[in-house]
Amino acid sequence: MARRTSTDLRKHLFHIATLTDLSEEITSHRPFHRTVKATLYMVLGTLSVPRGAIFRFDREELAFVPIAIKGFDASKDNHLPVTRAQMRHLIGRNRYVALGSPPPGLKGFVQGVRDRLAHMQAQYFIPLVTRKELIGAIVLGPKLSRRSYNQEDFDLLPVMSNSIAVAIHNHQMFLSLQEKMREIKQLYENMREIYYDTVKAFAVAIDTKDAFTQNHSLRVAKYAVAIAREMHFSKDDLEGIYIAGLLHDIGKIVIDKVILNKEQTLSKDEKSEIHLHPLIGSEIIRNIKFPWRNIADIIRHHHERGDGHGYPDGLNDADLSLAVKIISFVDAFDAMTTDRPYRRRMSLEKTIDEICAYLNLQFDKRVTNVFFKILKKEITGELPDPQILPNLEVPFDAKIITQLLDALAYELST
């Protein structure tokens, strides 16, 4: 009697240890397939059963699909198809199915299971159900000793299978969440792309209005990104400055075409009308919820100058953001190197001279320095993907410009 009691105690302790191991395993952050495998081993070890498997229920395939197998051939087709009626039976049953004496309504299903799993001599099929939802199943073969399963086994099984059901359910929720996240990210990417295309269409509209400024917005955007990249802007900010470059003159769409293309000197009124375009532009953009920040701000201030003589707000250097300084720099650079209604384009050398003459007044020193560095690298072929030179339609002597830029680099850095 004493011996039996000590064995019982040992058994209870072993079962408790298994349940502890089981919950530890399920709450661990190990890869899911390892966790399932370990839990299968725990069930089999505790019941002393050599062969068994854990299945997940695939709602689309309407079948049980093995996710852990022990003691028999895993390469065979071990999928267990199930009908909707059988599914309902399994959910309603909420306990094991003895495959040797199947309940009515599950006879066909059980026959299928026995046929498919003949190589493991399946004896019990335990549906895994949480909250009336079929999650999967555990299938068990005969015991090592060939004895029948006893009451203790049947008491222990639901406890273990519940934990395993929760683990599989959680994992499936995790997977579907991950899938949703992917979808949302894709939607967001699509939205960004649509924005891009829309903005590009706008830029084309702006540029065609002004006969002389074809592709001006696109070049401003490209040049700005080249500088911003050199200045280590984040990916988001690079996109933002690109969009701002494309849209900086969007206010011009409401300015009279005749004024925009006028070759003679503009009257005072005409000038003030043109000077409205940054304000109008920022107002047009302000109500659009862009995924990028500060677009409206950049548009409003792209004609401001560090010396306070810009428009519309006459801001000072300290009030201008780096992005504004970059856009206003490349806007002026492109204006100088292309033909305008009132003058011909300047040579590159003259443009550089002009920039130097207005350094700190109109052109920010840091931005100028970076731009010249990029220009030099593009001339010497150091940049694999040049953005400025291919767009530049002014002739220049590479040697002279390089020497000039070298001398300026020294000056600008002091």
Binding site: T7, F14, T18, D21, G45, S48, V49, G71, L144
Partner: protein, 117 residues
């Protein structure tokens, strides 16, 4: 806890597998792997020495049952030796002892095995 490992001693009639560490997770499958390796080489008799194993849980038992099945399949003999009291009780309780002979020492198992053959 030291890393789980299995070392072995090969004799022409048998192999002794020395298990170091807890057999409480899938790492224990190394025992199964070593056993399969020698089965393929035609060895049928195995002694598993548990002297350096303090703890065997349900995962460990499941792995050992796998080893038992493989050895039985080739009609070989399996010995478990030097297991502590708790492990021996578990082997009996789960009836692994019906298929693996339990000995207190490796020498006793070797003596039995050699006498038999």
């Amino acid at each position: 806890m030291a890393k789980f490992s299995v070392t072995d001693r090969v004799h022409d009639k048998y192999v002794v597998l020395y298990v170091n560490g807890y057999i409480n997770n899938l790492g224990g499958e190394k025992i199964d792997e070593r056993c399969s390796y020698y089965l393929k080489k035609g060895i049928k008799n195995f002694i598993i020495n548990f002297e350096r194993t303090e703890l065997i849980n349900s995962v460990g038992i499941s792995i050992l049952i796998g080893v038992i099945e493989k050895v039985l399949q080739v009609k070989g003999t399996l010995y478990f030796t030097n297991a502590n009291r708790v492990s021996k009780e578990i082997f009996r309780m789960l009836e692994l002892s019906k298929f693996a002979k339990i000995y207190d020492t490796e020498e006793q198992a070797v003596a039995h095995l050699l006498k038999k053959s």
